[in-house]
């Protein structure tokens, strides 16, 4: 969807991170969903790299 198409649509937001940003959006009636995000693979960099490679292979 192009930027100009976005301008014509209702804004619907997926929020990853600070919950207060989602609360502010909700207070304005914006449809949002909060992701219960935590670092994948316990945040360990070597595991993250491995996961990244697996995910790219899957897409190919």
């Amino acid at each position: 969807m192009s930027v100009n198409d976005l301008f014509k649509q209702e804004l619907k937001v997926i929020n990853l991170g600070l919950k207060s940003f989602q609360n502010d959006l909700k207070s304005q009636g914006v449809t949002t969903v909060q992701v219960n995000w935590k670092p994948k693979a316990g945040g360990k960099k070597n595991m993250l790299n491995l996961l990244g490679r697996i995910s790219k292979t899957k897409k190919l």
Binding site: L6, L18, K19, F21, V35, K38
Partner: protein, 534 residues
């Protein structure tokens, strides 16, 4: 010069203790605010609550709070590290306060909603989602943004600490797919009338903005609103977008989108001066734009803007004024004065300067908004030597301040002041401490910004008013007073309320001007008047 030293209890009673919670993830702002709550408990000398990331472990070491237990943590493990007086408190007391704080937050946040555990499941659970707002730790952000763009979603990336290489790659992908990738370190945007992150409540209208400067963009949108017009779209780019490496990819994407947007009649571009090659690309688009373009490249090349057929500006307020006048088909000129008549401004200055003693010669400008501080430096630097953490020349760096004496202007939101603590727009504590440590009997004038809006502290004017009350009380003991000047970046629609904020400040004798530029100009005039003697 770093953050002011904390008042410490006698060190010999203090014991270093650590509490670990495995697989308990909380965001950094929550934990920084929590650290401050725990810091206020009796018997606590110093405390850090954080996830076990490299950044936090470094911070714990620097603060002298590291123990061997921290070494084995992962970024999904939470730690509380504290120096405590065990005759007065214990780690159990801290843990209990920690739980109480989080329980209260959960009640306020209404955490009953379904929360998918990953971006991909969120995309599945929310058909029609069109924007992903990312404010997780920067080291993990690029992977999530990549996934969002691959799914055809626009992105606002609030996180900082994202590499230039990742930024370039992600923006190239966004442009290829015709998407927005606002950021990293993008603090403000208003899309389809909905403010995102730090933005003010302003009416909708015909002026579109693309901004690379967060509080600069906020100030322009607020001034447009005050002048009776409104905003169609406000697109943020992140502060690095107009540097050579990124090439202005998002500024150009935003600019072209606003040219194509039938709801936008006029476009305002805001940034610090871009790299020359990037400026040239933007001027080329401006030359062919069928819509008027107002450009505030703060302190940038006026002749080049004019040569591109665009309208140059001398301040953020001036940008808003020119945009509104052009939109209404009215004549315009640089706005160099005040909303009040000059004679009235002079009378106020005489009245205020009469309060001062001859040795009160110095400025203390304490800003929470980076671009507002930048604008102040550019305008004040013409007539005065100002020491700063964002100096106009290297020799005026704050580290070179001779014996602590001289004019000082600080951007308190800069990294060196926010390490391990929330940005001063979220939590006024940093500025409160600087009021205590940097204002003294030689200070003649204090200049502050008060930024309202979504994301900001619930009562920033109240926090400034309290600091001013304390300072006046302290100076009164020396038979002195001080001039305090402020501007409020906000509207009557913001939850903090512009009018209520102004009343709160004026009740403490603060001179409130209607824009940052006017507050700075007023301060300039006060300083010039002080030079003549009081």
């Amino acid at each position: 010069m770093g953050c002011p030293a904390k008042t410490s209890t006698r060190a010999r009673h203090m014991t270093l203790r650590t509490k670990i919670k495995r697989n308990a993830y909380y965001d950094s702002v929550t934990l920084m605010l929590l650290s401050r709550e725990l810091q206020n408990l009796e018997g606590v000398e110093d405390v850090l609550v954080g996830m076990g990331t490299d950044l936090n472990l470094d911070l714990a070491r620097d603060l002298g709070l590291a123990t061997s237990e921290l070494e084995a943590l992962t970024p999904n493990d939470l730690f509380i590290a504290a120096k405590i007086d065990e005759s007065k408190t214990s780690m159990d007391v801290l843990e209990s306060a920690f739980n109480d704080y989080l329980n209260k937050r959960a009640e306020t946040d209404g955490d009953d909603d379904f929360q998918p555990s990953s971006l991909s499941s969120a995309i599945q659970s929310m058909p029609g989602a069109n924007m992903v707002l990312v404010s997780i730790a920067g080291e993990y952000a690029a992977a999530e943004v990549d996934e969002a763009l691959d799914a055809g979603l626009h992105v606002m990336l609030f996180s900082d600490n994202v590499s230039v290489e990742d930024e370039l790659r992600l923006k190239q992908k966004a442009v290829e797919k015709g998407l927005l990738m606002m950021g990293p370190d993008c603090g403000t945007a208003i899309i389809n009338g909905k403010p995102l992150c730090f933005a003010n409540a302003v009416r909708r209208g015909k002026i579109g903005v693309v901004g690379a400067s967060g509080t600069g963009t906020q100030e322009v949108t607020v001034q447009v609103h005050k002048l009776g017009e409104g905003l169609s779209q406000v697109i943020g780019t992140g502060g690095r977008d107009l540097k050579e490496q990124i090439g202005g990819l998002m500024m150009i994407q935003g600019f072209q989108s606003l040219i194509a947007d039938p709801e936008t009649d006029l476009i305002v571009l805001i940034s610090k001066p871009p790299a020359p090659s990037v400026a040239e690309k933007i001027y080329q688009i401006a030359k062919t734009s069928p819509k008027p373009v107002v450009i505030d490249f703060i302190g940038g090349d006026r002749a080049a803007v004019e040569a591109a057929g665009a309208v140059p500006c001398i301040s953020l307020e001036d940008a808003a004024q020119k945009a509104v006048r052009i939109l209404r088909g009215e004549a315009y000129a640089d706005f160099t004065g005040f909303s009040l008549p000059d004679e009235q401004i002079d009378r106020i200055i005489e009245r205020e300067v009469a309060k001062l003693k001859p040795d009160q010669t110095e400025l203390r400008a304490l800003f929470t908004g980076g671009t507002l501080a930048d604008e102040a430096m550019k305008l004040l630097g013409v007539h005065h030597d100002i020491y700063s953490n964002i100096p106009l020349s290297p020799e005026m760096a704050i580290e070179n301040l001779p014996s602590g004496r001289g004019h000082i202007c600080l951007d308190l939101g800069e990294d060196k002041f926010t390490r391990g603590r929330p940005h001063p727009m979220i939590d006024p504590q940093t500025r409160t401490e600087f009021f205590k440590s940097h204002v003294d009997g030689n200070t003649g004038v204090i200049l502050v910004d008060v930024v309202l809006g979504f994301g900001s502290y619930h009562d920033p004017a109240g926090a400034v008013a309290e600091s001013v009350r304390e300072i006046r009380h302290r100076l009164a003991e020396q038979g002195k007073d001080v001039v305090v000047v402020a501007s409020v970046c906000g509207t009557e629609l913001d939850s903090q309320d512009l009018n209520k904020s102004i009343e709160t400040l004026e009740a403490e004798g603060v001179i409130v001007l209607p824009s940052n530029a006017q507050a700075v100009r007023f301060t300039d005039r006060v300083l010039q008047r002080m030079k003549k003697g009081v």
